[in-house]
Structures are given as C-alpha cells and as structure tokens.
C-alpha cells in the first residue's frame, strides 16, 4: 500500500489538528462537540464524493446514517449481538440496500433524482418511528457500549481518538478514490455524461458504486454515534438531518474533500453557538443558510482559494 496521496500535505495538517485539538477542549461538552464534528465530517466526506465529484444529489443520506445507528443499536440491545458483529452486519446490510435501491434511483436525473432520494430517506425515517417495538419509536432507544475483545470503549476521550482516526481513514480513502480510474470516471460523468459513456464508462454502475460507498461512510458514522451516545432517537434519521448534511457539503465547497470537513465543522458548531439566541435560533440559522449560499455559491473553501489566487496575481 502506498501511504502517500496526492494531497499528503492536507492529510498531515488534518492529523496535526486532531492531535493538538484536545489542548483546546476544556471540558466534556467540547469533547462531545468535537466528536459530533468528526462524525458529521465522515458522512460529509462520503456525501461530497457523490454530490461534488460525481455530480449527483442525495436528499436522503440521513437515512443511511440512521440505518447504521439503529442497526447497531437493535442488534446489540435487542438481540445481544457482540458490537463488532453488529457493526459488520449493519454495514453490510446498508451496502446491499444501497446497491439494490441505488440501481433504479440513479437512473434518474436532476430534480427527479432529488425527489427519489428524498422519498427514500423519508420512508426510512417513517419506518424507524413507526416500528416502535423494535426501535423505541419517537422516544428512541438506549444502546450498549462498544466492546472489543471484552474491552469497553466508552467516554469522551476514548471516542475522540476513535472518531479522529476514522475521519483520517475516511479522508485518506476519499483522496485515494479521486485520483484513480474510478474517481476519474465519476468526475468524467459529471463533466459530460455522454463523453464518459463513449469512453467506455458504464454510467449507472459508476454512480451506484459511489452511492454505496457514501452510504457505507454514513452507516459507519451512524453506528459510531449510537455506541458513543449510548442512546439514539429518530431525530437524526429524518429529512432535516439530510438537508443539514447536504448544506455542510455545499458550504464547504463541492468537489473538495477538506471543504467537506470544514463545512461539517462550521455547520455543527453554528447551532451550538446559536442556542444562546433561544427563540431566534431558527431565524438566524435560516438566514445564515440563505446568505452563505447567495454570497458564496461555490462554497467556503473554493471561494477562499479563489480570493487567495486573485491576491497572488496582484
């Protein structure tokens, strides 16, 4: 395996940030926030491959996140499976679902594709809420801690390192994929679908492939959240969370893996900061969403890079 990637510098910087950040995390609450940022970032990195690089859209990715969370939760809490086995089975299950559902869905384009993914996400969230015998319904359910060979994984600090390592792994894999034949095929599809097709690229197969990969990223993040929090509710499975995730990806800058991480960080921290505004939180959040998309349509990171390039030219 070649550990060097085309963007080794960025990866090293991310690793440095993860290593050094605990110095700034003064209490458990901030560790929690950091872990939440990491979890969202993992989902966003996968989603960015689908939206930014492959040029598709998904308004239902919280569904995969939720399936990962509830899958791990149900198998360990209700059926007593060891967490590692539950994790493996859940991840495999989500991959298969994404494969089966992805084939017909990704034949659609534009707003029709948006609707189909939206519908998929909503169906999943409705099932989760309705099957309360299994899932605990709107009140949620508790999840046993993650154990590996009898060793329990619990507490903010332990999970911080686990999520940090997982994020680094996710970013590494995403960067690898982009600079590969499969990655070029996806970017080609985004550039010109017919141009890609005559070059021998099976459009549907490529799109389904990246759909599955991004679903697996989301599912793993969900499973981690379930074990870390010890509790999950349907809130994280619904339409709003799907939109939050897409907003994070777009805000960070589409077709930018590190942008996805920054987008996740920014839009995870924002609501935390806005809670002080109490009843004005929604108004401000909505206004921020509109304003950032209007003034930075390409997203934060690409706009920043563009500004720096302009300054360099002067």
């Amino acid at each position: 395996m070649d550990w060097r990637t085309p963007r080794t510098g960025g990866l090293a910087l991310l690793a440095a940030v993860i290593l050094v950040l605990p110095l700034a995390l003064i209490n458990n609450y901030w560790y929690e926030v950091a872990i939440l940022v990491g979890i969202n970032a993992i989902v966003c990195v996968g989603l960015n491959l689908l939206i930014g690089y492959a040029g598709q859209i998904s308004l239902g990715h919280a569904g995969f996140f939720g399936l990962g969370a509830y899958g791990s939760a149900i198998l360990t809490a209700r059926y007593g499976w060891p967490p590692v086995a539950a994790l493996a089975a859940t991840t495999a299950g989500v991959a298969v679902l994404a494969l089966v559902v992805g084939r017909p869905i990704l034949k659609l384009k534009g707003h029709y594709l948006a609707m189909a993914t939206l519908g998929m996400g909503i169906i999943i969230s409705i099932v989760v809420v309705t099957e309360d015998g299994l899932t605990g319904g709107p009140d949620g359910m508790s999840v046993p801690a993650f154990t590996l060979f009898g060793l329990g994984l619990a507490g903010e600090r332990a999970w911080y390192w686990v999520v940090g390592a997982a994020l680094l792994g996710a970013v590494w894999m995403a960067l690898n994929l982009i600079e590969s034949p499969a990655g070029r095929a996806l970017r080609a599809l985004h550039g010109s679908e017919v141009g890609a097709q005559v070059s021998g690229i099976d459009a549907t197969r490529a799109k389904v492939g990246i759909f599955v990969i991004s679903a697996v990223f989301a599912s793993l993040a969900g499973s981690m959240t379930a074990h870390y929090s010890g509790f999950i509710t349907p809130g994280k499975v619904g339409f709003f969370h799907s939109i939050e995730l897409v907003t994070m990806v777009v805000f960070g800058g589409m077709a930018s893996t590190f942008g996805a991480v920054i987008g996740a960080a920014t839009l995870t921290l924002l609501p935390q900061l806005l809670t002080v505004l109490k009843e004005y939180e929604m108004v401000v959040f909505g206004a921020v969403m509109v304003a950032t998309m209007v003034f930075l349509p390409r997203g934060f990171l690409p706009s920043l890079v563009l500004e720096l390039k302009k300054k360099k030219q002067k």
């Binding site: 939206i51 859209i57 308004l59 017909p104 869905i105 034949k107 659609l108 384009k109 534009g110 707003h111 029709y112 948006a114 609707m115 189909a116 939206l118 519908g119 998929m120 909503i122 169906i123 409705i126 099932v127 309705t130 017919v194 339409f239 939109i243 897409v246 907003t247 777009v250 589409m254 009843e279 004005y280 939180e281 929604m282 108004v283 401000v284 959040f285 909505g286 206004a287 921020v288 969403m289 509109v290 998309m293 209007v294 349509p297």
Partner: protein, 291 residues
Amino acid sequence: MSAQLAQYLLSGLTVGAIYALVALGFAIIYNASHVINFAQGEFVMIGGMATVALANAGLPLLLAVPVAVLAAAAVGLALEKFAVEPARGASVVTLIIITIGASILLRGLATLVWDKNLHALKPFSGDKPIELAGATILPQSLWVLGVTLAIVLLLGWFFSRTLIGKAMLATSHNPLAAQLCGVNVRFVLLLSFGLSAALGAIAGILIAPITLTSWDVGVMLGLKGFAAAILGGLGSGAGAVLGGLLLGIAESLGAGYLSSAYKDAIAFVIILAVLFFLPSGLLGKKSAERV
C-alpha cells in the same frame, strides 16, 4: 360502491385537491425559473396562520382571507427578490439549499410572530356533515373541491387567453426568446412567485378548518406537494393537478385498506414506484439530448 370506499375517495379527493394547489405552486415557479421552491409549504402555513390571527383580531373572514393571501404573496415576492434573484445561475443543489434555508427562516419567523400552538379556523359554512353516496362529507370539503376546481379553470384560462399568462408560458419554454419578443422576464419571475404563494396560501386557508394549522404545518404539505408535482411530471400544470389528486386518493385508500400508521410513507412509495418506470413522471416531457 361501498360506503367505506366512497368515504376514502371523498377524503382522498379533498386532501388531493390541497396537494394539487401546492403542486401547481411548485410547477409555476419551476416553469419560470427552473428553481424548486422548497419554501412552498410555508406559504400554505402563512395563509392559514395569518387568517386565524386576523380572524381572532376581529376581522370578518371575508376580509381576513384576501389580506392573508396578499400577505403570503408579498412574502413570495420578497423571497424571489432577496433569496432567488441574487443567486441566478447557481447550481441546482445551491438553489435547493437556499429555498430550504428560506423555509427554515420563515418557520422561525412564524414562531416569533405567532406561536408554536395548533390553531383552528372556523369552517366557512358550518360543520354539519352532508350525506353523499353513503358517505359523509364535511361542507368544508366541498369548499376545498369547489375552490380548487375554480382556481384550476381560472389558471387554465389565464395561461391560454391572457397576454400575461402567455408571456409566462413563453418564458418557461425559452426565456431568451421570450425576452427578445419583449417579455419582461424579471416581472414574470416575480409574478410567478407571487402567484404560487397565493395558491399555497389559499390551500392553507381551505384546509385549516379541517386539519388545524400551526407553525410547521407546511413541512409535510410542501414535501408532498413537491412529490405530486414530480409525479405529474415537473413543469406540467395538468400533471401537477393530476399528481396531487392521485396522491391524495392513493394515500387515503392506502391508509384505509393497508396501514394507517404508514400513511405518510405511502405517498413517497408511490412516487418512487412511478419514477422507476416513468423517469419523467406521468405527463413530463421526455427530451432527447442533442450531441
């Protein structure tokens, strides 16, 4: 026809008419700007909530309704001017996020201006159920169906007989060509947002006496209206109406005969099923790409 089936059909038609109005709002805006306005559901909410507030403040219904509709239309114009217009040319995903952000903003404003409670609006002509084909129907449902029919006919006349309506249609087919023919495209855009907002508000006012209204009533209605517009084929007005009615009926039948717990899911399952076989919806245009 069994009484139960008739009941399901009638209630399905009623809610379907509401979906149809919301879907028409989506279709009109999409045709003018190729934007999917995810804040469409909030116009429904504004219509209902504003009318309740005005009625509670003492205004007779006959005045409260038009004022509320105008207020919603004004919000629609503001949305176009401040959120959509500045983002012309942005990608599909960006525009989706802008309108969703706007919907969150509007919901937040609703909780500030009004509150988070459920509110009832008095039915227009009483609430004594009427017997029809062995089923019972509320007078308000007749209002819903009647007004929706009137609006659909009015819009049909508007788009095919009036100059402004034809200008809007022209813009939807080819904005540049329309502009070259002297159509003020910016005005068409504003008008389409105002019109869609009014449609949504009317839907919200019509249904409020039956299902109550609150600050977040627009979320599911907006999503289902979008689903109905897609079902009918994006960009087709007739498709929007057809999609809305079919969705309402299917939902009602499904809830009655299959599972009422999964009522909300039925709409989306149907959409997915239809899209798999008809990728451009029922009446959507299929275009061949020129290479």
